[in-house]
């Protein structure tokens, strides 16, 4: 091969490599997009039944039920319009409390129960997850409360 055609091969190889990377990347990206739904949307049947998604809201007071001999926990979250039950097995984050905002990642199981693989609470006492604030705002009942939460200044 002469110099010019070698250079062409090199450029072709690079373009080909980047194209493959793009295809693989976009595929992985597509598969791992997690959408957020509020309890109202889930109740309305907007949430996917086969894919994982995220759901969030305030933990309903008095709804946390713990299994006596395992780490299984059930609790309700609400956007102040609708509420739904979340089941989780494991250890909840330190900042998980009744009445406070959480986000759960998981999927719907047969029988309409949401089983979470991961439960995130805020990192800080004054902070409300932004999606939860937005969901509360959308439900309209607690817009002011939600706004107050998000605008309080917090530490990292």
């Amino acid at each position: 091969m002469n110099k010019r055609s070698r250079r062409k091969v090199l450029i072709f190889a690079i373009v080909f490599g980047v194209a493959i990377a793009t295809v693989l990347g976009l595929t992985a990206f597509e598969e791992n997009l997690l959408y957020f739904y509020s309890p109202t949307q889930v109740k309305a049947g907007d949430a996917p039944t086969t894919h994982s998604f995220r759901v969030g809201g305030l933990v309903v007071n008095g709804s946390v039920k713990r299994a006596p001999d395992s780490l299984k926990i059930e609790f309700d979250v609400t956007d102040n319009t609708e509420s739904m039950t979340i089941e989780y097995t494991g250890i909840l984050p330190d900042l998980f409390r009744e009445g406070q905002g959480i986000v759960a990642m998981g999927s719907m199981q047969a029988g309409g129960k949401f089983v979470a693989q991961e439960v995130l609470a805020k990192h800080d006492e004054n902070y409300m997850p932004p999606e939860v604030a937005a969901a509360l705002e959308a439900s309209g009942k607690s817009a002011k409360e939600a706004a107050e939460y998000t605008h309080q200044s917090t530490a990292k």
Partner: protein, 650 residues
């Protein structure tokens, strides 16, 4: 009184920064030595006043001056001295002040250590750094004044977020900022070179050590953050692909590309305009990182409070800095011509491939981090990108990267022949592949391709790196520190990859419910729970679990995880306990107290996890060694005249 002095010092620093960013540039444009000579004293003065402001805020923390809002929000009377000093950068306003201090520090470091720089170039570099500083000081003064007073003065302050009360995290932000802000030097050199229209190999030589040392700080800072998350958050993970983590990882990726590209530009005078672009990108991503972390726009476990005014300011600054420098680049870079010629199979090509791989990685992280923001901004919905996306992308990216690392350093500049490289490396290739694939086969009795390839990659890089070192030693070649640094950093990558591969495949994690006196076996280690006791700390009360570790009938250790309640905070904090050896960590964290003295707890077995941070430390040391190389301290003028391969001037 002292906080007012601090505030005043900040205002003076702001004024000086404006002078520093304008006067030397006018001087450089009109060739007026008196104006050019203003750059250094302006930089010194600015450093002095930013330093004074910083000292004033630290003083307020140390003497518990709760009349300062920031102090009363982030410290209280029982807080230990160390965390009052680190409390300065515990939140938004103070960390900006730290950022400004770091920038002033880098600026005078350039002014002091680059004595051989032509005066005009020096004036331009300091002016560009002055502009960055002006932006940050204005941001602080107009939206986030750390010296704001509060009335009535509270008797005691509130607690610094207990998560931040950890020695690792106390030094994590300064290290990270040293790295972030350090890229401003390479950026300033690049913009100054574009302004002057003179981009030659000496430009690369001047900015190279600065870039490398900034990169070392950033590497160490990111590793510290990862180590802190592992220790403190009680989740046992070392990297979460959290937007805040990604914010520091993107400049690191582009910075790594920049280091390699600078090597080509310095040694061979090639890829000049590309290198300039990378320097601009690396610093732009540092600014973007600040924007992401400080504006609170992201859905993140780290999530910060939102403040639209601040967000708009940072965005404006970002557009000015990034847009301005890119426009300058578009205008001026056409005049930059690279004369160096090289064949397709050469070190230059290898380094170019390195750049492509690192930029692909940075793009992957950028897309995963910013896409949810864009979707949210258009009001289409709330989404987030799952961790598997990033894991998958980096698994793909690691393959060509590790392959390249094995051969790249052995390929000669200008051109080499493939048979020569193949002859010396193919044996290592086969050996690594066989051994790498064999290890999981022996351990778990089945073929595990992903793990096998990861281990093979680590082995391949480690062996070829050592082989390169040995063959140079045997041939009696000189081993300059920059070379030793490169070897050490590459070896660090091998250690890192081995650690990541093993911990991802062979870790065990278990959430348990344990009653006192019961035990649980995890990967051959017996965790025996003996119950809990109450422990009083300096500013917290803790429930401390006592967990004995038994291995092969012998007690080998004890874990004492705590659940702490800090004074002034209602919610408890998890403090994990870790039994560390070189080959594995045993990790326990308390969950919640259940009935009958039983606790929910999390126990982990993490093989080779220490290698992840060991690898990062090796990379950091590698960077520091490379910068210590003598040739960067030689009279630059002397070598410059010899080394100039091409100049392009307007």
């Amino acid at each position: 009184m002292i906080p007012e002095l601090g505030h005043f010092a900040l205002i003076i620093a702001f004024a000086v920064a404006i002078v520093q960013s304008i006067v030397p540039l006018i001087g450089a444009a009109r060739n007026q030595p008196a104006l050019i000579a203003m750059a250094r004293p302006a930089a010194m003065t600015q450093f002095l006043f930013v330093g004074l402001a910083y000292a004033a805020l630290t003083h307020a923390f140390i003497v518990h001056d709760f009349s300062v809002l920031y102090v009363s929000n982030h410290s209280n009377l029982v807080q230990p001295l160390l965390y009052r000093i680190s409390g300065v950068w515990g939140s938004h306003e103070g960390s900006l002040l730290l950022w400004a201090l770091m920038l002033a520090l880098w600026t005078i470091a350039v002014a002091v250590y680059s004595k051989n720089l032509p005066e005009i170039l020096m004036a331009r570099v300091l002016a560009v750094m002055g502009m960055v500083s002006t932006g940050f000081l204005a941001f602080m003064l107009f939206t986030s004044n750390p010296f704001e007073r509060i009335f009535p003065v509270p008797l005691d302050g509130s607690e610094l977020n207990p998560l931040l009360q950890d020695p690792g995290l106390a030094i994590h932000p300064p290290m990270l900022y040293m790295g972030y802000v350090g890229f401003s030097v390479a950026f300033a050199f690049a913009v100054a070179a574009l302004l002057g229209g003179k981009l030659d190999a000496t430009w690369a030589r001047w900015s190279r050590p600065w870039t490398t040392i900034a990169w070392s700080f950033l590497t160490f800072g990111i590793a510290l953050g990862s180590w802190w998350a592992y220790n403190e958050l009680g989740w046992g993970g070392w990297w979460f692909w959290d937007p805040v983590e990604n914010a520091s990882f993107m400049p690191w990726l582009v910075g790594t590309a920049l280091i390699h590209s600078l090597a080509s530009t310095e040694k061979r005078g090639v890829f000049k305009s590309w290198t300039v672009l990378l320097a601009i990108l690396a610093f732009s991503l540092s600014l973007l990182g600040t924007f992401i972390v400080r504006s609170g726009v992201l859905v993140s476990v780290h999530a910060f409070a939102t403040d639209p005014e601040r967000g708009v300011f940072i965005l404006g600054f970002l557009i000015f800095a990034v847009g301005g420098s890119l426009a300058l680049y578009a205008w001026r870079s056409a005049a930059v011509v690279s004369f160096g010629r090289f064949q397709w199979f050469s070190r230059e090509t290898a380094l170019l491939l390195n750049n492509i791989i690192f930029l692909t990685a940075a793009t992957a992280v950028l897309v995963g981090t910013m896409y949810p923001l864009v979707v949210d901004a258009f009001g289409v919905g709330k989404i987030s990108v799952g961790r598997p996306y990033f894991d998958t992308m980096f698994a793909y990216i690691a393959i060509p990267l590790l392959l390249l690392m094995g051969v790249g350093p052995a390929i000669r500049w200008k051109g080499d022949n493939w048979p020569r490289i193949a002859k010396t490396t193919s044996i290592f290739f086969v050996f690594s592949l066989v051994v790498g694939l064999l290890i999981p086969f022996i351990v778990e009795d089945k073929l595990n391709l992903a793990t096998g390839l990861g281990l093979a990659g680590a082995l391949w890089v480690a062996l070829t790196t050592l082989k390169d070192l040995l063959s140079r030693m045997m041939r009696g070649l000189k081993l300059p520190l920059s070379y030793i640094g490169m070897i050490m950093a590459h070896f660090g990558v091998a250690v890192f990859v081995a650690g990541v591969t093993v911990v991802m495949t062979y870790h065990s994690e278990k959430d348990l419910r344990m009653e006192p006196g019961t035990s649980y076996n995890i990967s051959g280690y017996e965790f025996l729970f003996q119950g809990t006791r109450t422990v009083q700390g300096p500013n917290y009360i803790a429930q401390e679990g006592v967990i004995e570790i038994w291995s092969e009938g012998e007690k080998t250790g004890e874990l004492l995880p705590q659940k702490r309640t800090y004074t002034g905070k209602s919610e408890p904090m998890t403090d994990a306990s870790i039994d560390i050896t070189f080959t594995r960590d045993l990790y326990a964290a308390l969950g919640e107290e259940l009935e009958n003295g039983a606790w929910s707890m999390r126990v982990y077995y993490k093989p080779l996890i220490r290698w992840i941070w060991l690898g990062c430390i090796l990379m950091t040391i590698g960077g520091v060694l490379a910068v210590s190389d003598r040739r960067y301290r030689q009279s630059v003028k002397q070598t410059a005249t010899k080394k100039v391969t091409a100049t392009a001037s307007l």
